[in-house]
Symmetry: C2
Subunit: 259 residues, 2 copies
DNA sequence: CTATACAACTTGTCCCGACAAGCGGGGCAA
DNA sequence: TTGCCCCGCTTGTCGGGACAAGTTGTATAG
């Protein structure tokens, strides 16, 4: 009734990581050394290490020792929705600003396409699946490591009325303000949050290995009478938290990011 | 420059699952059959299957064939915070009601303890770490499968004033209302959302295997001048989504769960 | 001093074998 | 009919070996 050997290896190393024997960024002993220490075959040691990798505790890559992962988390406050297009250059506490404040270097890839909207998007925008729509896509980096991807879809009727949405340039004042200035204010949002392991495509886009889930945030923006956009953001789950402030919190300084 | 064999196995099977060759709940061919099909050793086939397990696509257990996982998702609307203690028997669209509406059978384990509050909780309740506090713990099931665990912490000063919080009984009217009736209305919430792979403890509490992340929801409730409780809910990420409605959505029927 | 090449490490991939442990069906016995 | 055991299937665990491929430091050649 004793635990499997590979599990003992994993449990021991996990405890040592938690106990600080190996800190974030440290190298673990090599497979050969662990093999001698636990008197196990290489396969068994690897099985134990693989378990820790899939728990998100370790990184591994060919030629280099196993490394203890270090988490550095950015917090996105989703209820400050005035400056939702958080990549823009406006002031206020946007996402970029938080990044810059920590001394890191953010940048982004940007792309605009005409696409047929998927089922997922169509039912949120209340249009028929397969209809044309505009996709404004953005992949964000911090110090050259991918952080999140964001895909905003606009329905065809909206793009026809406001064609600048389909142009491949970044919109200076932010697309939310662009629309608001033209009489299409978003008065409410419906947010959905979910998590799962990344698909292989997501894993390569965000450069995440096994053991790191993605956090998906789908925001549908509504005007007075209908949905006007749907933004789907895919975060690396190990690098991002999301917060909401509800009700009356004026009296409290909720600031001070944890961790 | 060809892909590793185990990866070809995984990619092929993943595509077949996505294409509907194997539907949710279906058994995959056995390792022996896959070994013949791909002309690979058992270890290689297992490595490919293991990858799909860690992506959350497959279940495996000793003695039974690999099974395609089926997702059935419950949605929790976190901005309807009047009936936050969503396990209570009140009417309105509580969590239980959604479960019951789908014809499933929910139940829960309940427990009350005096504990020393952890660092994590203490900084949210603005008390000193290690101070005594009351923990009201709840683990929820649907049809006997664990769904989530919830730990609500109350600071000592609050429990001293309202001792029923420390009693091991379920509070009939819900603890939120109990406090509100006694003049301690919660006027705002600060929510934090994050995801990661489960610790071994969480994995066993929620009966989740590799490839399923947890979704963690930490809600700090505020009275007019200070935090009064901190609730940390750990969801199985494959079974739960969280939604928020922000702004003015009266005109829109956001109902109709997706999926 | 610099650049290249090599050597000695690391992990990745793949094969083989063996036995343990769990599940389910068929057949036998009560 | 009902209950039990056994057999044949499944996956889980553990060992061995071999070579490929990536990384890093050192020694050498220019």
């Amino acid at each position: 009734m004793s635990k499997p050997l590979y599990r003992q290896v994993a449990d021991t190393l996990r405890a040592e990581i938690a106990g600080g024997v190996f800190g974030p960024g440290d190298d673990l002993p090599s497979e050969r050394e662990l093999r001698e220490r636990f008197d196990a075959s290489r396969n068994t040691v690897r099985q134990g290490l693989q378990l820790l990798v899939s728990e998100g505790l370790l990184n591994s890559s060919q030629g280099r020792a196993y490394q203890v992962r270090s988490h550095e988390v950015f917090v996105l406050n989703a209820s400050k929705f005035e400056n939702l297009q958080f990549s823009q250059r406006e002031d206020g506490d946007s996402y970029d600003n938080e990044v810059l404040h920590s001394g890191r270097q953010p940048h982004q890839e940007f792309r605009v396409e005409m696409v047929k909207v998927t089922q997922e998007i169509a039912e949120r925008l209340k249009v028929t699946p397969g209809e044309q729509g505009v996709l404004r896509f953005c992949r964000r980096f911090v110090d050259d490591t991918p952080w999140s991807t964001q895909a905003t879809h606009y329905p065809k009727w909206l793009v026809d009325a406001h064609p600048r949405l389909a142009e491949p340039d970044d919109i200076e004042e932010g697309s939310t303000r662009y629309l608001a200035d033209r009489g299409l204010e978003q008065i409410g949002y419906h947010d959905e949050l979910m998590t799962r392991m990344p698909t292989p495509e997501e894993a390569s886009e965000l450069q995440i290995g096994p053991g790191v889930p993605v956090l998906i945030w789908i925001r549908t923006g509504f005007s007075a009478d209908k949905p006007v956009r749907c933004t789907r953001t895919t975060f690396r789950g190990d690098l991002n938290h999301i917060t909401y402030d509800l009700g009356d919190l004026r009296a409290h300084a909720t600031g001070g990011d944890l961790h």
